[in-house]
């Protein structure tokens, strides 16, 4: 049951992402990307992390992509611009990174480590909260300070004009 659901979700996720990067219109690619975020959220749920699944939809699909959509709607891109073909030197870093990812995937597939889904064990919110704010409390605070710095920096850059 879980395996079947996983493969359906994986197919939706990959198709959605592929369509998102090949779509000619920015608004359509947002819709495809939201679909794949949804599939990803369900996958998190399948792995027993309902809280992460909910945050995936609320933050990524519901906040960040809506912001993108807002900007694109305001820009009013009539027809997609024809960009010149990127030069080989621009391709190189992307190729290197993609090669690293594909290489590690091949290594993982060849090794005897089997990725076994843990079965459906739902982690309660309470346990998650204790881990986040007690066990890793300092790290969470550091990250939130960093976000605050970024926020203040963005405000400063925006205000300067």
């Amino acid at each position: 049951m879980e395996a079947t659901l996983f493969y359906i979700l994986a197919a939706v996720l990959l198709t959605g992402t592929l369509l998102a990067i090949t779509a000619r219109q920015a608004v359509r690619s947002i819709v495809y990307l939201v679909t794949s975020f949804f599939a990803l959220a369900l996958m998190f749920y399948l792995l027993g992390a309902p809280l992460i699944a909910a945050f995936e939809v609320i933050i990524y699909a519901g906040a960040i992509m809506v912001l993108f959509l807002f900007v694109i709607m305001m820009l009013e891109l009539e027809s997609p611009e024809k960009l010149p073909q990127p030069h080989f030197t621009n391709w190189l870093p992307a190729l290197l990174l993609a090669g690293a990812v594909v290489g590690s995937l091949v290594v993982l597939l060849c090794s005897r480590l089997r990725a076994v889904p843990p079965g459906f064990v739902e982690i309660p919110v309470r346990q998650f909260a204790f881990a986040l704010f007690k066990q890793y409390g300092v790290a969470v605070e550091v990250v939130s300070m960093q976000l605050l710095f970024a926020l203040v920096g963005a405000l400063y850059l925006g205000r300067r004009r």
Binding site: A41, L51, A54, A61, G62, V66, M73
Partner: protein, 329 residues
């Protein structure tokens, strides 16, 4: 967990029954609104189709289905046809987590009157309400019309702004119930409904859900005086019908959530629990119609000021005070 045939049959039965309740409820809410608005405006309202006009929703559906389905030539066909569904589906999905009543004994087993008791129920509702934004945004954008685009940009910014105060007003409820599951939140109100402890959160939530429904006094996305019909200007036939029904389903689902979070859900003396739940939801629906009949529309800057400079800080302050009170108690 293994599912027996009885479990699956029960689940299917619950889903079908819930669909019937939602769709009938939404159809008759339209009729109720027209009759009550008629009463407020000192006229009769629709009373010709069937006794007391009770068959009017049926006639409306037949009209919607037989009307011509127009798609503007300049529209993005895919997104244009997808948008109405994206507006209606999140509203319907919200009912999956709403407990309609106390667990009952059926076929020798305990049946919960709820499709799924998620342990992140409140967050599930927040996720769905943030997804509902896409219906408004894409509907207006895909129509390729300036009125529709203006309406959807307004709708987008309004929904994002009020989602924030809505979410923040629910934090004290979660703090009091010590759970994100809706069944637990209802159980935590066994002695006293949360409206007694949290009148401020209730007021913020009520204003925010009025804005989330995009109804008067917050109906700027479809303000008919200036934007024809806002984001659904170009829609006709059943596609318009989906936007329309979605709005009324939204009223019912947000009314149900307000009664779950603040009025104790299905809890109440004497009457059976399911009946109490329907009474509370009915009261909220009536309030929505009453507000529509009596209040004027806000100006756009007033709308944004109310959301960002009044409701959100107030909700944050309310969380602080609640935390303080819980710590000192």
């Amino acid at each position: 967990m293994t599912w027996t045939a009885t479990d699956i049959a029960l689940m299917l039965g619950k889903i079908v029954l819930l669909y019937a309740i939602i769709l009938t409820g939404a159809a008759y809410l339209v009729l109720a609104e027209r009759r009550i608005l008629g009463f407020i405006q000192d006229r009769i309202g629709p009373n010709r189709v069937g006794p007391l006009g009770l068959l009017q929703p049926l006639a409306d559906v037949i009209k919607m289905l037989t009307k011509e389905d127009m798609i503007p030539t300049a529209a993005d066909r895919l997104l244009f046809s997808l948008a109405p569904a994206m507006a209606a589906i999140p509203a319907i999905l919200t009912f999956a987590i709403i407990p309609l009543g106390a667990p009952v004994q059926l076929f020798g087993r305990q049946v919960h009157l709820q499709i799924a008791d998620l342990n992140v129920g409140v967050l599930f509702f927040m996720a769905l309400s943030s997804i509902a934004v896409y219906g408004v945004a894409l509907g207006g954008w895909a129509s390729n019309s300036k009125y529709a685009l203006l309406g959807s940009i307004r709708g987008l910014s309004q929904l994002i702004s009020y989602e924030l105060s809505m979410g923040l007003s629910l934090v004290p409820v979660v703090m009091l119930a010590k759970s994100l599951s809706l069944a637990d939140i209802v159980n935590a109100q066994a002695e006293m409904p949360f409206i007694v402890y949290q009148p401020v959160a209730f007021a913020i939530f009520l204003v925010s859900i009025l804005a989330e429904c995009r109804r008067i006094p917050f109906d700027l996305p479809e303000a008919e005086g200036e934007l024809v019909a806002g984001f659904h200007t170009e829609y006709s036939g059943m596609r318009f019908g989906l936007f329309f029904v979605g709005e009324y389903i939204n009223i019912i689902s947000l009314g149900s959530l307000a009664s779950l979070f603040f009025l104790g859900g299905w809890r109440g003396p004497l009457l059976p629990p399911v009946l109490w739940f329907f009474i509370k939801v009915g009261l909220f629906s009536f309030l929505f119609i009453w507000v529509r009949g009596t209040l004027p529309r806000l100006r756009y800057d007033q709308l944004m000021h109310l959301g960002w400079k009044f409701l959100t800080p107030l909700a944050l302050l309310n969380i602080l005070v609640t935390g303080w009170w819980l710590a000192l108690r």
